[in-house]
Symmetry: C2
Subunit: 131 residues, 2 copies
């Protein structure tokens, strides 16, 4: 695996509601997930980060949600986000793009990407050494 | 994307403790995650499913955890598992391997892979149509 990853992509779920609000009728439009996606798109302008909208990361009970990865990196999923987190997502994606071994470092990671971490999954073909 | 996926892989976190038990001293050895990995390896014998052990899926508060995917499929992450879930994991991975569009169907999915679903992330290069 290359020491430096490339092509950071952030996937933002546009159907996400706020945590604890699974009542469709009570939700405002546009949905919080769509607002987060729009904010992330604005924050990504002029950077190497691509923001992609999608419909469901199946993290519905802890949304709004976004995932990020680069070529060959682990994929990180975050929840409990809102529009204010857009710049932290971009910052995190750029941190991941420059990270060794495709692992988002804890040190220097924006705070919301620490407490909002839901899970991570390994890159294709990953094999743990000594497991 | 091919209509039929291949090479189902299940990643089992061997460091997972039971939900609500984050106290290392109170945990038994081998850990529940390692027991799940061993059970999944046994259940995979004679199938096309590969079981890989790894150290952390960052789903620590809702473990034991496992992820599954095939070539080109979405990756699914499950939590709240135990040894008894091993055959459901194998069954789910085989269902995913035969699924259209790389999406694990809800119908016919083992029950624990419904209520234990933590999140899913899209395949590399995924772009939502019309989002």
């Amino acid at each position: 695996m290359a020491a430096t990853m490339q092509s950071p992509v952030i996937y933002v779920c546009i159907t996400c509601r706020h945590q604890g609000n699974q009542d469709a009728a009570a939700e405002t439009e546009p949905r919080p997930g769509a607002l987060l996606a729009a904010a992330a798109e604005r924050a990504a302008v002029g950077t190497e980060v691509t923001v992609r909208r999608l419909r469901c990361l199946a993290n519905c009970s802890r949304g709004p949600s976004a995932a990020m990865r680069c070529n060959g990196s682990w994929t990180y999923l975050f929840g409990g986000l809102d529009e204010q987190c857009a710049s932290a997502l971009i910052e995190g994606a750029r941190l991941l793009a420059g990270a060794a071994e495709g692992i988002l470092p804890w040190r220097g990671r924006p705070e919301i990407l620490k407490r909002g971490l839901i899970a991570r999954v390994p890159p294709i073909g990953f094999e743990e050494v000594d497991a």
